[in-house]
């Protein structure tokens, strides 16, 4: 435990130190600009203090972000629109729904690719091409089109999440479902196993390690999708809306706290999959 915690803490400490230094560096021009216009001269310590306490800094100091996060999580009722937990929750619901849809789609495509020769030969290049399309560009169109057919609310956002999250699942699951070697497949043949039995008893369990790894990537992608999806839905609520609103008003502290919150949310969601992975693989004797 100590072996893994200490290096992480050390790296985090160094990062925070760099962060403070960078805050001084990036925020100094504005502090000097302000001082010049106010016609005062700043001592070094005044300058540093100022760079760590600006209202709209180019880079907020870590403690400013920490205080903002504290104020918008612990200090606010979680039903409040000013609570980051409330916004995280909104983003999370779209993320999880999109993730579920994406995993299902990715899984279905992978099964198709593994079992159908035409799909095997035709689908993959297009799946790759689909991922080179900038999602932020088509997200508004997706929302409008879905709106036109009367779908709104959670689902459009979830569909954008799905678009981003199915890709790692397809790639991973095709690998995973193909991971049984020729001998294992031959064994099934000598027992005259049906296609379904082969899938349930061999291909599926063999693909589990791949599935979990790709689900972790998919979850992170799904979160990005949910945040992207929040922008063209009117940025009503959610972490994406907070990012945007922060951006709109130049509230860097708010941007950074939403960013860190998003990363923390990703860490939690990926952690949950990791936990399920450990339990499942342990029970399967694979861990």
């Amino acid at each position: 435990m100590m072996r893994s915690v200490f290096p992480v803490l050390a790296v985090v400490a160094v990062l925070i130190a760099i962060w403070y230094a960078a805050a001084v560096w990036l925020n100094t021009p504005w502090a000097l600009d302000k001082a010049k216009r106010a016609e005062v001269t700043l001592s070094t310590s005044d300058l540093i203090a100022d760079t760590w306490a600006q209202d709209k800094p180019k880079l907020p100091a870590p403690h400013q972000v920490a205080i903002e996060i504290w104020n918008t999580t612990v200090e606010k009722k979680i039903t409040s629109k000013r609570s980051l937990i409330y916004h995280s929750w909104i983003t999370m619901s779209a993320t999880v729904l999109g993730f579920a849809l994406g995993t299902a789609l990715g899984f279905a495509l992978a099964v198709g690719i593994v079992y159908n020769r035409v799909m095997d030969m035709s689908v993959m290049p297009w799946v790759i091409a689909s991922q080179t399309i900038p999602i932020l560009a088509i997200a508004p169109m997706i929302i409008v089109v879905l709106n036109a057919v009367g779908i709104s609310g959670l689902l459009p956002k979830a569909l954008i999440s799905m678009y981003l999250s199915f890709f790692p699942v397809v790639v991973g699951m095709v690998k995973g479902l193909r991971s049984p070697d020729a001998m294992q497949l031959d064994q099934m043949r000598t027992w005259n196993a049906s296609g379904g039995q082969e899938f349930i008893k061999l291909r599926l369990p063999a693909s589990m390690p791949y599935l979990f790894t790709s689900m972790k990537i998919a979850m992170a992608a799904s979160l990005v999708g949910a945040i992207v999806g929040e922008l063209p839905t009117g940025a009503v609520a959610g972490l994406g809306a907070r990012l945007l609103a922060g951006s709109y008003y130049g509230q860097t502290v708010q941007i950074w706290s939403a960013l860190l919150m998003a990363a923390a949310l990703a860490a939690v969601l990926v952690g949950v999959i990791g936990a399920i992975q450990r339990v499942t693989l342990k029970r399967m004797g694979l861990a």
């Binding site: 035409v118 030969m121 991922q131 169109m141 998003a262 860490a267």
Partner: protein, 279 residues
């Protein structure tokens, strides 16, 4: 209605054609023909459905209109391509992957860093681009430098993780062999660990190639000069010039696929020895 029906017929015909081709012996030609037929089928169906259902072209233009626009806007598309792909994405890609590679070698050398940096790295990789892009635009200005910075941030961690993993992908026996030759760190790195890491490095390079393009385009949504694919897309949506929007998307997808394909070819040439590349 006729057109809708036609769309479905096209779909069925394409599928049947593909089933037929896929039964032929596997050659380079059939391997290319099947996805091509699939793509053409999709496009024809799109054309039929858009026309058949009377979808307004300010919502979704038919492929034919996109093609016409693609032909008539070559100068604009080229200008945007240079700005976004060559200046933003490519430079960021090279810097980001290069930096990640160098970092990986350092991280790999010091176990302490690996255990400390990788978990933190995973956390940072989860920072959504849309959040980082406005910040980087604020730091690095409007032109392509900030786009490159976004790309650097996006590609850095996937590349780092793959490179670190790759550098460790040697067997005990391969390393012991080097020890019996009394080979030093650098010799082992160059003769053993780098070649062994190639499959992973290329995996990282492939993932990074799609990310790079997306990153460069997305960053342009948050401030840019009056050129670039992201600029054109967002501006044209506002002007309801959806055909131009889609023309840009087509260029993006082509550039992305070509980029990816190019790296895949390079991979084939460099890691010809890896089981996944042999047939």
């Amino acid at each position: 209605m006729m057109l809708v029906l036609l769309g479905l017929i096209v779909w069925a015909a394409g599928w049947v054609l593909n089933v037929w081709i896929s039964r032929l012996p596997r050659t380079r030609a059939t391997a290319l023909a099947v996805p091509a037929v699939f793509g053409v089928t999709l496009i024809l169906m799109w054309e039929c459905l858009v026309r058949g259902l009377g979808v307004p072209s300010v919502i979704l233009p038919p492929p034919s209109a996109i093609l016409v626009r693609l032909g008539s806007s070559v100068p604009v598309l080229w200008l945007d391509f240079v700005q976004t792909v060559l200046k933003g994405a490519l430079s960021g890609y090279i810097i980001g992957c290069g930096a990640a590679f160098v970092t990986a070698i350092i991280v790999d050398r010091y176990d302490f860093l690996r255990r400390g940096l990788l978990p933190v790295g995973n956390f940072m990789a989860a920072l959504p681009v849309i959040g980082i892009a406005p910040i980087l635009v604020m730091w690095f200005g409007f032109d392509w430098q900030s786009k490159a910075a976004v790309v650097v941030v996006m590609v850095f961690f996937p590349m780092l993780v793959n490179a670190v993993q790759g550098l460790q992908d040697t067997t005990v026996m391969q390393r012991d062999l080097m020890r019996t030759y009394a080979a030093g760190y650098w010799t082992t790195l160059i003769k053993l660990r780098l070649p062994a890491a190639m499959p992973f490095l290329f995996n990282g390079l492939k993932i990074a190639s799609t990310l790079a393009l997306i990153g460069a385009i997305v960053a342009e949504f948050f401030g840019s000069p009056t050129r670039g694919m992201g600029f054109r897309i967002s501006t044209s949506v506002g002007q309801l010039a959806l055909d131009l929007v889609w023309a840009e998307i087509v260029v993006a997808a082509l550039a992305g696929s070509a980029f990816y394909g190019g790296i895949a070819l390079l991979e084939r040439a460099v890691t010809f020895w890896h089981p996944s590349q042999r047939k």
